[in-house]
């Protein structure tokens, strides 16, 4: 069904592309959000990617690879968005200090630490982490999707996870304790 829609959209059928876009919008947004960590920028990136898909669809040789191709467009749109002049919007979360909510607060703090550590990664490293840990892509699929050598994908993933661990390890217990006490 999707192949038929892609073929029709390749030939300029707007209704077919509208159906494709409707089926892909959530996926594009979810991917962009996870890389950019900002709803507005994610929306912009997903829109750019979908419009780019419409524009360049006739150049797609293998319609079976539409999903990977679209993911690549989203990731590239995220790179552009991340490098634009707009500043990251800081997310500030105030932790409550009541003793009965310590466990909840600890969980929230841990998530915020992960968020903070992830934001320190470059867009290229974030993309590899998201493709691997969220979409479940293997390294060869990441390499193919992003058009990079498998070795580069591996080293980016390794570096990103190492950096995340380093940031979290350095913040462990002490920071959480300070925030919730």
């Amino acid at each position: 069904m999707q192949v038929e829609l892609i073929e029709r959209a390749k030939r300029g059928d707007r209704d077919a592309f509208a159906s494709l876009a409707a089926a892909s919008a959530d996926r594009c947004y979810a991917l962009a959000y996870r890389i950019l960590r900002d709803p507005h920028r994610a929306q912009d990136a997903a829109q750019q990617a979908l419009l780019g898909a419409w524009r360049d669809l006739p150049t797609l040789r293998d319609v079976e690879r539409f999903d990977a191709w679209l993911h690549r467009l989203v990731v590239n749109a995220c790179y552009v968005e991340a490098r634009s002049e707009r500043r990251w919007v800081a997310k500030v979360r105030v932790l409550r200090a009541e003793p009965e909510t310590v466990d909840i607060a600890r969980g929230v703090a841990a998530r915020d630490e992960l968020e903070s550590a992830f934001r320190q990664l470059s867009p290229e490293h974030r993309a590899v982490v998201v493709l691997h840990h969220h979409l479940g892509y293997q390294l060869t699929e990441i390499a193919e999707t992003l058009g990079i050598p498998a070795g580069t994908a591996r080293s980016r993933l390794h570096h990103a996870v190492k950096q995340l661990r380093a940031v979290l390890d350095s913040n462990e217990s002490g920071t959480v304790g300070e925030q919730i006490s």
Partner: protein, 234 residues
């Protein structure tokens, strides 16, 4: 993978899982509203002069006559030696794929004014580890003249996913600039520092490029790199 790594990977996956999965309604509305104003590219369809207005065709023909006249004059003028400049190698003449047109192109003011000719060692086909082919073609190569209408050298990048990307390539001081004229990076100029070591070529992309990464290439037909097909015709 050890237990600790597995736990950490799960932690990342769980954290990502909690992010939103539904796009705001405006996203699709905006795309569908903007779509009619975004023309589709036509894959594999070459630029056609017939698609241009009549006056444009006449202007292009007149410009071509002027350029050919200048070329004729330059060919008739005896060569002069500029003592302050080192002799410029004519890569196009020594290129393995040089054609009669390439030597004409090397003599054009355009080609000479934009930098040095591409080094001979760069010319030809290169293989990308993730699949795909990269070609550096000399000035005057039919691929360059027909696909991007340039008398300069050009680069062709076939990722084997979408149609090949072709751009005008100029070289100066170990740096190659590629003005992409078709494909995914169309309109973007990529600047790369060239690192060539034997059969290995690394193109270190400067900030602002389209790839967002360096390109590690191997000379096609050497070592583990297979022999390249001919560059795709646009």
């Amino acid at each position: 993978m050890n237990r600790q790594s597995e736990l950490f990977d799960n932690r990342i996956a769980d954290w990502l899982e909690d992010d939103p999965v539904h796009a705001p309604a405006q996203l699709l509305e905006t795309v569908l509203a903007a779509m009619p104003s975004v023309p589709q590219r036509h894959g594999g369809q070459a630029w056609r002069p017939a698609a241009l207005p009549r006056w444009w065709q006449l202007a292009a023909a007149a410009a071509l006559v002027v350029v050919l006249g200048l070329l004729g004059l330059k060919a008739l003028t005896p060569p002069t030696v500029a003592p302050s400049q080192s002799p410029q190698p004519t890569a196009t003449q020594s290129a393995p794929t040089s054609t009669p047109a390439s030597s004409i192109a090397a003599a054009t003011p355009t080609a000479a004014a934009t930098g040095e000719p591409l080094p001979k060692a760069l010319l030809g086909a290169w293989s990308h580890a993730a699949g795909g082919w990269w070609w550096f073609l000399p000035a005057g190569d039919p691929e360059c003249t027909q696909a991007v209408h340039t008398t300069e050298a050009c680069a062709v990048w076939d990722r084997q996913v979408t149609t090949a990307e072709i751009g005008i390539a100029t070289y100066a001081a170990d740096t190659v600039s590629i003005r992409w004229r078709s494909g995914f990076c169309n309109g973007v100029t990529g600047v790369y520092t060239v690192e060539l070591s034997g059969d290995a070529l690394t193109l270190l992309e400067h900030p602002g490029g389209c790839e967002g990464d360096n390109l590690v290439l191997t000379r096609a037909g050497t070592g583990r790199a297979p022999t390249a097909p001919p560059p795709p015709t646009p």
